[in-house]
Symmetry: C2
Subunit: 343 residues, 2 copies
């Protein structure tokens, strides 16, 4: 089969890989329909973080092509969503709602495992990992939103859940990448009344408004903090979603957090120093991390299927597999919010 391969910073090619086969009785092989590029892929694309060489791409939807003898909830031909990490469903983290921290888990498209930017993927623990999508003949927009459930929408939702976003609140989202935009959508879905999105990019501002943002703040850093304080009678917001992971974005998040609120953080941290003293004196919490996508997909799926939420709108750039390098470059150059890769 053909698959996207990482050869080092900015070295993204399409090459041949062995066709995946059932190796364990709990495996499934999935023929990929749609894959995409994650904001976190930019870190290694730009050489800012290490990544194993070989197949990449951890987000995909596809059709089950083969199943092992012990797979009981899936059948050949099923449309499935893969969360970006596989999980066993049996260990303590899985049983307590943290499949993303499964002790037997791993990431698609890393350490030599098939990636979602390739033609097919072997999924370990298929029953526990893959989520079957009911219904047939889903339109393209629905398929794109189903793909968004693989990671980005679940990660935005995790920011909102971690920040304890509740009905009627005033909240802020730091970061206008695809995750930040999905956090806006998640906060809107959870009933936040006023959603302040930090963005200086017209297209992202527009999508934030479509997703439910009520206020756009184009300022950054201290100026953004002051602007949001001004918008909230000086008190800050009831919940903050931090969807970047840099020192500045985290400072902004804590700067706009009201007394007693929580910063829900889902960005991979780079040069972040947590302001512990002001957290303690102002009773501000910090939660979040790698999203338990496998737990969230079944909860969010009905809203996608009914069209209540359309997270697939974050895909504003599209390539075929052969042009996958362009998918990366478009995001690197901020020409795209998020690139879809049609397999």
């Amino acid at each position: 089969m053909r698959a996207t391969l990482y050869g080092g910073p900015r070295d993204i090619t399409v090459g041949d890989r062995p066709d995946p086969r059932i190796e364990q009785p709990t495996d499934a092989v999935v023929r990929v329909l749609l894959g995409c590029v994650c904001g976190s892929d930019m870190w290694y694309f730009r050489g800012q973080s290490p990544h194993a060489l070989g197949p990449i791409g951890h987000e995909f939807i596809g059709i089950v092509e083969d199943i092992g003898d012990q797979v009981s909830t899936l059948a050949v031909g099923d449309l499935v969503i893969a969360p970006f990490l596989w999980c066993c469903g049996q260990c303590r983290p899985c049983r307590t709602g943290w499949p993303s921290n499964c002790v037997n888990g791993g990431s698609f498209g890393n350490h030599g495992h098939d990636g979602g930017q390739g033609e097919a993927v072997r999924s370990p623990y298929a029953d526990a990992t893959l989520v079957k999508v009911p219904g047939h003949d889903h339109d393209q927009q629905t398929l794109r939103s189903l793909l968004a459930l693989s990671d980005v929408m679940c990660t935005g939702h995790h920011a909102a859940v971690s920040a304890d976003v509740r009905k009627g609140q005033t909240v802020a989202v730091v970061g206008d990448g695809a995750v930040g935009l999905c956090a806006v959508l998640a906060a809107h879905r959870l009933g936040a009344d006023r959603i302040i999105a930090l963005s200086r990019h017209p297209q992202r501002q527009q999508l934030a408004l479509e997703f439910g943002a009520t206020d756009i703040v184009p300022e950054r850093g201290e100026e953004a903090v002051q602007r949001i304080k001004d918008l909230t009678d000086g008190f800050g917001v009831d919940a903050v979603m931090e969807c970047v992971g840099t020192g500045q974005s985290m400072d902004t998040a804590f700067g706009v957090a009201a007394v007693g609120s929580i910063v829900g953080a889902v960005g991979v941290p780079h040069d972040v120093v947590v302001p512990i003293t002001s957290m303690i004196f102002r009773n501000i919490g910090l939660r979040g991390g790698v999203a338990p996508a496998r737990k969230y997909i079944p909860e969010l799926l009905p809203d996608v299927l009914t069209g209540t939420i359309n997270p697939g709108k974050v895909f504003d750039h599209e390539t075929e597999l052969d042009h996958v390098l362009d998918a990366y470059q478009a995001m690197d150059e901020r020409r795209a919010i998020k690139s879809l890769v049609r397999i």
Copy 2:
């Protein structure tokens, strides 16, 4: 009146102060029955943190001696508990459950305001601040436990609430000071099944067991982490209460926290670096801060009055006002868990 005065590190004396009087119509004057020394008083006693010179002591119970014209819920002769911070009851933090962050608030026994280690105290915003204790002729043990509600028990409870301690959980408490011991009691009250207390001091171990601890870990640092991992099948605990505030105690707290758990921290931070990357990759949260005692006192009071909880047992040393220096020295030298000052 006579009151304890801070003159600088280790300089604790009893001197004369003007008798407090009603200054605002919302004030009350309280004749102090019992005061005490807080673990946080040790920071300035030892010269490790600054503190205003003058009257000190932020925990007390007493009898209402006079009230302003606008005080409606208290009468002269009432027995009251003072939370360590006064609060207006009207501002946004007060209305949202964070009276400890009241924008009109302040601390008893600081910046020249009457302290609880003196004969009398003027309480601003008396209706919002002071909690009336029902009933009469409370015995000495009950009075000591009522005093504990002024700060230490509410702070231990805040550690447990912040860590989201729930029925049936396995939890750990880092710190065997009075707050840590109250956190054990709070976790027990909230239904934790297994409570691991870190303590190497026999008397504190004994009180931890009385308060509901099921396991005592005398090790510190990495050894303590390993021991608690061994006790929990390698996964760590469901909730951690951090009741010290040093870098080492915080490292231990994060080290024993299971995936998805929260560290509830109430120690004033000194040289703490929050391990943000492992937090994010393991979905471990951090919450806590200055306890909203005024919110918790009414919730905990019935359990004190029925004898269900006896947080007053943390007072294992007692002095008269004239010997208040000894109350400090006993805690400084770890001869006492917590010193009561009889006024």
